[in-house]
Symmetry: C2
Subunit: 435 residues, 2 copies
């Protein structure tokens, strides 16, 4: 292994789980890993546009500092891309908006501080859509630059998919972790709501915003989340035998393209062949209202969170965002309260569904990444889960008509992240065995 | 009325609900109100120490600007004190910590932006304990300067109690709105969790932090919250007839001083005499574990939220806070998860209690404000309610052995803030009638 990863090519393609023990044992230096990542960035960044800030000199000097110190934690020497809506005290934080050009926060976001404490390298800031809403940044899809990488964690997905970083942090309010991961052909993990501390992440919608992880394997995603939260158990081997998997066609099934339907069906048959108990889950009717409730809650809360920007810098917001903020302002509190009540009731109902199933299998996105960079795609297969607060893991399972990757999503019970991740690792292996 | 409020003395003592229509009709200028508040500050601030930042020139020029513009909203010309853990783009925001001396955020907190949008005047920044935790600031209790004003919203409570501002914003993670209000002899209102957008309020504990209001009457508190949230209904007259009031002795009753017990008993008999149905509420046993669960959740989340400060500026944290952060770091995730599960179960149980009662009557604090400024007092009668996320209103009901005020607290069902506020207004009148 050691020889193998001594080339930049091998380091870039290695999993974080494989690099970690080499870094811990000092068989590989943090500087070598940083140099490999920088080499890839140099080759590819101009084409991909994943980064809003990356200072090679700063990264290398931090890597050398780690090499000179005792090993601090499980992320020792591993570079992490940080979505640019997360505060960094030593790098600009621009939130994807011209309003905050060169803004430098006074602190690190809690998740950034946790990565540093675990020995991780803050590699740089990745491109986000404007305030993690819809207006896209400069990033393209590494699988085909004529296609969107998805959003809002566009740069975090593209950097990892293109081997510039082993993993990165994103956030999901609608579908901003799972969708770009599916579009870029990598793993996305949205933990249970509340698992990763949000301090220093600019809020869009307090009831929904969830910090998540983009990686090239479920194990790597688990490693990063485990290190940030101190939940070492997330990476433990957890015995998975004949997991009970429910096929969840969702109330928005008509919006799934043939490739997303094929991805779910292929995954279902692979999982069944590998020993899972796979059957259709029946969906409580109330859940049909989830998407509408999400919309109401997100827009209403967004109008509150971005009130300062709307009032003071309205001319520097995108037209799309301005329009959404106006819509949000017009949502009366009674409607918002109704939506919160629907969400509460749906959370109780979905807990009942997980009595019969360990995880649910459902599309990650409507299909492969759409052509063009004007829209980051549709989050209809994600919004409900975000509102339900349950853990979601996406991994590639199929390809679309243009050869772009299509993910499937496993969804677990609230706060049963360890089980969901374990089954996702099992499922990832089952799919890989048949690839 | 108009003549009456044309002296600074009268303006300072008037309620916001009385000033608002005069300001709206331009019978009273925003400048006159600001000048009255400044006059009081000039007389009293040296003795009280309620403010961490107040710029008279800026306040007057903003007041004059309001006078020159069309009326913008329900808070037109009303000055509001802002707890200094809330971001203001045009004033320093120091979080009660030397780490952030002269720090100037890039934005206004959502609640500050909402106040400006409603025509309110951001009067200045009020003293907070260090990061809204335990280490006290300079503020003394206006009722007796040898006693603590309570915390963490110390300056917000003292400024309002001492007639320097009609109302102010605070936050409650343990008991940081209700306790200082009780100690200073005013009204405190902690809304249902999530009602006031928290963007720009420095987080201590995401599951608990709640923005609240300090005022000299329940109606004024309702006015400020209604204006911030767009929930005009909070100030509507709401018919209260024979409210069902449950006396809630809490599992910490042994920590209530004789004056807090007397306050509850007096209030209960006054309310019964005024027509309420008052009886003892029986307390589900599980709720005995609430205080411990709060402790676990708060400490664990606080260690995450203040990780940057601990790592980078540990030498400028108080010894008390450093110790708490160490305790928080040692709380393992499994214990934290257990505490979250207890909280979930208790929230379901308390919802059942509110089938039989409209509100619960319980102490606001252990007793009158303790002597000395080293501690801001005990939040044992508040923590459980904060964790349960239910609305709480405190108002003065009695006096302690040193003649200091003692409040009682009415607690409503989650998201039934309008009902809780209406009954609190009714209760406030019932007590006043007997004073």
């Amino acid at each position: 292994m050691n020889d193998q990863v001594n080339s930049a090519w091998a380091i870039n393609r290695a999993s974080a789980l494989d690099l970690a023990p080499l870094l811990q044992r000092r068989e590989l230096s943090a500087e070598a890993v940083a140099r490999a990542c920088l080499e890839r960035v140099e080759q590819r960044e101009q084409a991909i546009g994943a980064w809003s800030f990356l200072d090679a000199g700063k990264l290398l000097s931090q890597a050398r500092a780690l090499d000179a110190q005792p090993v601090r934690g499980p992320l020792h020497g591993l570079p992490v891309g940080i979505k640019d809506i997360m505060a960094t005290a030593d790098m600009p934080t621009e939130y994807g908006s011209p309003i905050y050009r060169n803004h430098r926060p006074a602190w690190d976001a809690a998740c950034v501080a946790a990565i540093r404490a675990a020995g991780g390298l803050i590699m740089g800031k990745t491109v986000t859509t404007e305030f993690a809403a819809m207006h896209p940044g400069k990033t393209v899809n590494p699988c085909n630059p004529a296609h969107t990488p998805g959003g809002s964690s566009s740069g975090s997905a593209a950097a990892v998919a293109d081997f510039m970083a082993p993993f990165s942090l994103g956030t999901q309010t609608g579908g901003s972790v799972i969708r770009p991961a599916s579009f870029c052909g990598i793993v996305g993990y949205k933990p249970s709501f509340g698992m990763i501390n949000r301090h220093g992440v600019k809020p869009l919608s307090e009831s929904l915003d969830t910090v998540g992880v983009l990686a090239r394997s479920v194990g790597d995603a688990a490693l990063l989340c485990a290190a940030i939260t101190g939940r070492a158990g997330l990476t433990d081997p957890f015995p998975v035998q004949a997991p009970r998997i429910g096929i969840w066609r969702t109330y928005e099934w008509s919006k799934a393209s043939s490739e997303s339907i094929a991805a779910v069906e292929r995954a279902a048959s692979v999982f069944a062949a590998a020993g899972a108990q796979v059957r259709e889950a029946s969906m409580p009717e109330l859940l049909a209202g989830l998407d509408e409730a999400h919309h109401t809650i997100e827009y209403h809360e967004m109008a509150g969170s971005l009130a300062f920007e709307r009032q003071q810098h309205g001319d520097r917001l995108s037209a799309n965002l301005s329009e959404r903020l106006e819509k949000g302002r017009n949502i009366v509190p009674a409607l918002y309260d109704q939506a919160l009540a629907v969400a509460d009731a749906c959370r109780r109902l979905i807990a009942g569904v997980f009595v019969d199933f360990d995880v649910l299998l459902t599309p990650s996105a409507t299909g492969e990444a759409p052509q063009g960079l004007g829209s980051t795609g549709n989050a209809v297969f994600n919004r409900g889960w975000t509102l339900l607060r349950v853990p979601c893991v996406t991994f590639p399972a199929w390809h679309g008509p243009k050869g772009l990757p299509v993910g499937v999503q496993l969804v677990g019970a609230f706060r049963e992240d360890r089980k969901a991740l374990s089954i996702a690792r099992w499922a990832e292996r089952a799919l890989a065995a048949l690839a």
